[in-house]
Amino acid sequence: MSVTLRYFAWVRERIGKTEEVVDLPAELRTVGDLVAWLAGRGEEYAHAFENPKVVRAAIDRLHARPDAGLAGAREIAFFPPMTGG
């Protein structure tokens, strides 16, 4: 499955990309699985996800928890806790 990954704030800075398109291995079922897989892709990813509990995710622009399923996802975003307002 091909999805667009988007990164924001210091997750973006650590990975060094705003977005990328990746083919997800079929065995990845949840956001947590995807985070673990990404963290193994290189130093910059390991740094971004060094504390996976801090990084938040959204699937197709909806907040998603680590146990949220990836099935059907087209755009998955990772970012720090939000500090708007």
Binding site: R6, F8, A9, W10, R29, T30, A58, I59, R61, L62, H63, A64, R65, D67, A68, G69, L70, A71, A77, F79, P80, P81, M82, T83, G84, G85
Partner: protein, 164 residues
Amino acid sequence: MNKAATVTIRLQREDFDAGAEAAQIARGRTDVGAVVTFAGICRDQEAGHGVAALTLEHYPGMAEEEIARHVAEAQARWPVLGVTVIHRYGRLVPGDNIVLVVTAAAHREAAFAAAEFLMDYLKTRAPFWKQEERPDGAAWVDAKEADDAAAERWDRPSERDAAE
């Protein structure tokens, strides 16, 4: 004259005129008895350090949708007659406007509650991130536990379902 509730949501780089937005929400209608306006402004000090400027990053698309979901939630909870939310992005200096929430209702309770609810959620759920220019360099702002607690008093909105 009674009208349907009016909802305005804008994300913009430009400044806004809080007074003009507040005046607009009640214009031409006589069923509004209370208008609450919240303006969030860039300060030059935060948590003991100086702030020369803020840069606000956002997730285009999701930010508008997330705000719209929270406005709909506010409308479901309280009888609001109008809601305006404007959130700026880009680089802002102390004294600059950051965010505006205007709520209109027949009575003050609904207008105050909806405005506080929206601000609490904008702080913790809307995909915006602040980077501060501090004397020792640029730093991303940490989320505040106090903001999380403030948002939690309204209960949690539904999140995407867990994997089946």
